[in-house]
Symmetry: C2
Subunit: 335 residues, 2 copies
């Protein structure tokens, strides 16, 4: 028996295409000590995965050429060793290979909730939500009344950043790459201001207009020209949690950085990169806060769902192109 498997068939040079992925049949996994066999229900596609497609040393190993792509996912347990803490039928969440039947390490997954929406556990209630929470409050030290600007604001992380900042009493401004997203930010999520960075004449002017009191926290998901514009509009003692720099992920050669970094001195600005994986100790507090806000209707979950295991590469490519509103997910199976 064989199982469908999506692999990295070629490393991208510049934008990712379908040709970078292979779809093949592999022998079904065989249970071994400390492992589970699982069947994915939802697979997550996330911007950081673009970095793993390059053969470059980073905080996480690159995908191996010819081997399965791996991402966060929610799966159903289909086989366990006797004595495992998991049971057949359990829902688990964690990193998993893109295979219709997968062998995963017991320690690499944790129990998922059957009560909470499955997709949300990969988004607003999961790692992207915790990323927003840690970046905004721990790294960014956002305070009520301050102005928070977030880029890629309609994305999985950005849409939570904006909502958390609103809950916290901040003035919230977002940038996104389409008029529909801008409308969504203002009308659905209650952002105080938002703009389409692709159509404004000049991001710096757009930011000055959108942030009449200047920026106190810039939650950076994109880097590049948006970071440069934001630096001009930052207030003294602004904080810039750096979560992602997606504007540079698909360029074949490195883009120059902002030409105005000396503003960091003039305005005594702190810029700090962070990875959610360093902050898993905050998951408990975040999960209880987020569940409460969800129940109270203060935190809205938005997803763009692509159906079908074989469409996972297309979902990922769409994510990098900015097709999604909210969390981009691949629904492999309903149950």
């Amino acid at each position: 028996m064989t199982t469908k498997t999506i692999t990295l068939s070629a490393r991208p040079k510049g934008p990712v295409t379908r040709e970078n992925f292979g779809l093949e049949q592999r022998a079904d996994p065989v249970l071994s000590a400390g492992k589970l066999i699982t069947r994915p229900l939802y697979l997550s596609v996330d911007p950081y995965m673009r970095g793993r497609m390059n053969d470059a040393k980073s905080y996480i190993a690159p995908f191996a050429l010819g081997e399965p792509i791996e991402s966060a996912g929610i799966a159903r347990v289909v086989a366990v060793n006797s004595g495992s803490k998991f049971h057949v039928g359990d829902l688990v969440s964690g990193m998993m290979p893109w295979q219709e039947l997968a062998l995963v390490d017991e320690k690499a997954v944790r129990a998922a909730s059957a009560e909470l929406p499955l997709g949300a556990q990969l988004g607003a209630l999961g790692m992207p939500g915790l990323t927003a929470y840690v970046g905004l409050f721990d790294i960014g030290q956002a305070k009520p009344g301050e102005t928070v600007f977030v880029s890629a604001a309609a994305g999985a992380v950005g849409s939570v950043v904006g909502q958390l900042a609103k809950i916290h009493g901040c003035y919230v401004v977002g940038s996104a790459g389409s008029d529909d997203k801008v409308r969504y930010l203002k009308e659905e999520l209650g952002f105080d201001a938002a703009f389409n960075y692709k159509t404004v004449d000049n991001q710096r002017s757009a930011l000055r207009e959108a942030c009449p009191k200047g920026i106190d926290v810039y939650f950076d998901n994109v880097g590049g020209a948006t970071l440069e514009a934001a630096l001009f509009v930052c207030n003294v003692h602004a904080r810039i949690p750096i979560c992602g720099m997606i504007s540079g992920y698909e360029t074949a050669s490195p883009e120059p950085g902002p030409s105005n970094l000396a503003i960091l001195i003039q305005k005594r600005i702190r810029m700090e990169g962070f990875l959610v994986s360093d902050h898993s100790a905050r998951m408990g507090k975040f999960a209880s806060d987020a569940a409460r806000w969800l129940a109270e209707g203060k935190l809205k979950v938005q997803e763009t769902v692509v159906d079908g295991f074989e469409n996972a590469p297309a979902a990922f490519i769409g994510l990098l192109r900015g097709d999604n509103v909210g969390k981009m997910l691949v629904r492999v199976s309903e149950s």
Copy 2:
């Protein structure tokens, strides 16, 4: 009666030249309420002054065109109002105009010490020393055993950063712009390694070789290519206090920034600009520490002294060109 005055006669476009300064006779100052008349003994030239020559809003007002240049200095009081806390003959330290007789606000100066070397009060024991102290310990959070890299390491701030880091038990690496400076860092100041950034093939390789355990704190005085190289060699959770970006001060148009800022995320690096003026509350602790280290011979004071009031512009131009080792000073008068 008139007094010699050095003014900003034209704003520089690119490198500063003698033509940017005027030398004129102005009417002698007349004492008024809340003021002192002083005669400068030493005037300081500092890199940040380059920013004040531009007509650009910043944390400190630009020099006014046609008006005296202003800098830190040590001066002798020559006239006071009755009831002033100062007396004729007192030594004072603070911001003062480049005039042989100057009218200064009483509140803009403080008593200087007749016991401590006068030049050092503008350098290792003054603002540049406090800048090094705050940047290394408060912003940079340097810990014993860590590797500290400092650029412009033979300058007024850098030479103190390196010495404080050695006192603190760090492994200390510096870059500078001449072989003589490199020799001075290693032989006189006890740096563990140093290199001439102008002659190495590649700063990134030079840094890798000089910092076998990677960089934990990069004290940035220069920005530009050195910052980019340092980011590559930084360790996880490195700190980058940003004190200056002198590499960009003399360029006619802004230089692009480092192309590798995404490393901030991968390595969870904190980059933070600071101004010593925010940290004057640390002066007491610093001054007592520095006086002790000076007495113990652990802190060496190095100065490059240019004699004569009229040579202040030349001293400043030399500073921007990197002619100085240690603090660059203008000696106007011995007493």
